[in-house]
Chain length 251, copies 2
Amino acid sequence: MRSALSVVCHALDMSVVKDARARARAEVVVAIKATAAQHLAQTGAAGLSLRAVARDLGLVSSALYRYFPSRDALLTALIVDAYDAVGEVAERADAAALAAGADPGARWLEVCRAVRGWARASPHEYALVYGTPVPGYSAPHDTVEAAVRLSRVMAAVVTAAAADGSLRPPQRPLPGPTLVTDAVAAVAGGAPPPPYEDLLERSLVLLTALIGTTSYLQFGHLHLALVDDDAWFDRAMAVAAEGVGLVLPLD
Amino acid sequence: MRSALSVVCHALDMSVVKDARARARAEVVVAIKATAAQHLAQTGAAGLSLRAVARDLGLVSSALYRYFPSRDALLTALIVDAYDAVGEVAERADAAALAAGADPGARWLEVCRAVRGWARASPHEYALVYGTPVPGYSAPHDTVEAAVRLSRVMAAVVTAAAADGSLRPPQRPLPGPTLVTDAVAAVAGGAPPPPYEDLLERSLVLLTALIGTTSYLQFGHLHLALVDDDAWFDRAMAVAAEGVGLVLPLD
DNA sequence: GCACGTCAAGAGCACCGCTCTCGTCATGCG
DNA sequence: CGCATGACGAGAGCGGTGCTCTTGACGTGC
């Protein structure tokens, strides 16, 4: 009877109920990731030590290899979580702005501020996601879904601006054929109509400006150059948004 | 007599002729930096091992500590050199474009391409300079002079555009007081005159766009998004340049 | 009730950054 | 000119790392 139930679980609910063994294993995995995330937040990716994580868990280092085949695998798992975190932050910021009746420009400014706020609150996680790639980093395949969440938010904002007529057409359209892949068009919901033929290329510039500016500030390259980082960041985002025709509210 | 000569050397030419000891020491220092740079280019900053460098030099690891007090100090020396390298690349590209009679827009495009070309040729050095900061990184004081070289090139291009009238004034000037420090104004050669009051803020956006876009491409975040990285990079720089009123040549 | 698979523990390997000590050699001073 | 000082390289060693392998205990499924 128990075995029959077990079979039923396997057939219907495998991913939810699972084996008792598998569930215990999953719990250990999340415990490892949790303490590893704590260490990451404190010491950074370079200082994350598998042995130290094991010590905190009351385990011996070799026991961790039952759950993660290598330190890089653990780090990759943390990267995926961090990607997801920034994606969720962006989505929530946009949803909140949308609920407050903000126009597309105001929505995007809130998204930018939220991403930068997350970067400042979690500098090491941010560096893991958008800084120098770690040498043994497995594959973008795990992260591509999580990474696309931010792009989707931007696509929604730009599409809304195009729909309500507030998106200004480019003064000087970019020459040549489209330069983005079909995957980008799929995320954006198809090729943009005239007069926005170069909108996808310009949208990637907008996304790059958000991450690039956040990184440049986060990594201290403008430390001696600015008297008010926050105000300049808002204006930098406004200048970048002009490139796609989006008008951000300032003051 | 020898001692008298030595005194003369000390008084007049100390930094050029030096002691025999000091010169030998300087040679060893450059040898260490050279092989360390090789290792850096191959394995990246994380994989740079003091012991491996010492082995390549036929030394024992402890001997290196006579020249660099720690691994981070050696890494910092490499960072300074890398900053200088990218600054020189930018300066040479601008000088070549200027000699070829290029207008400011064309000059800046060449500078952008040159910086990105250096990043692709020296990815680990680029990551060291513009990627995640290394934890034990000493001080920006050593690098600030080298880092300002690129800014100076940009300032020269933008100033030339303002001087020859090709710089378009902003359609929507940035509100509020100036956000940059006096150091930035000093590099730019003073506060910009009307109608370019926000030029320094916008110029920092331009610089950030160059580095941010190069990093975003270099770190693979647009790997699945673009069919022609080079063409998109040119257009991204053109879109960013629109933000300061600089017109880049495309096609 | 027994065998199997899973798990944690421990020892061990190679490598790392870094410190300390100890000969050696050239240098500069009296 | 002779000697003491100081710089230098070699080597051993410490604590740490990632990772592998073996061993023994435990709970589960047949």
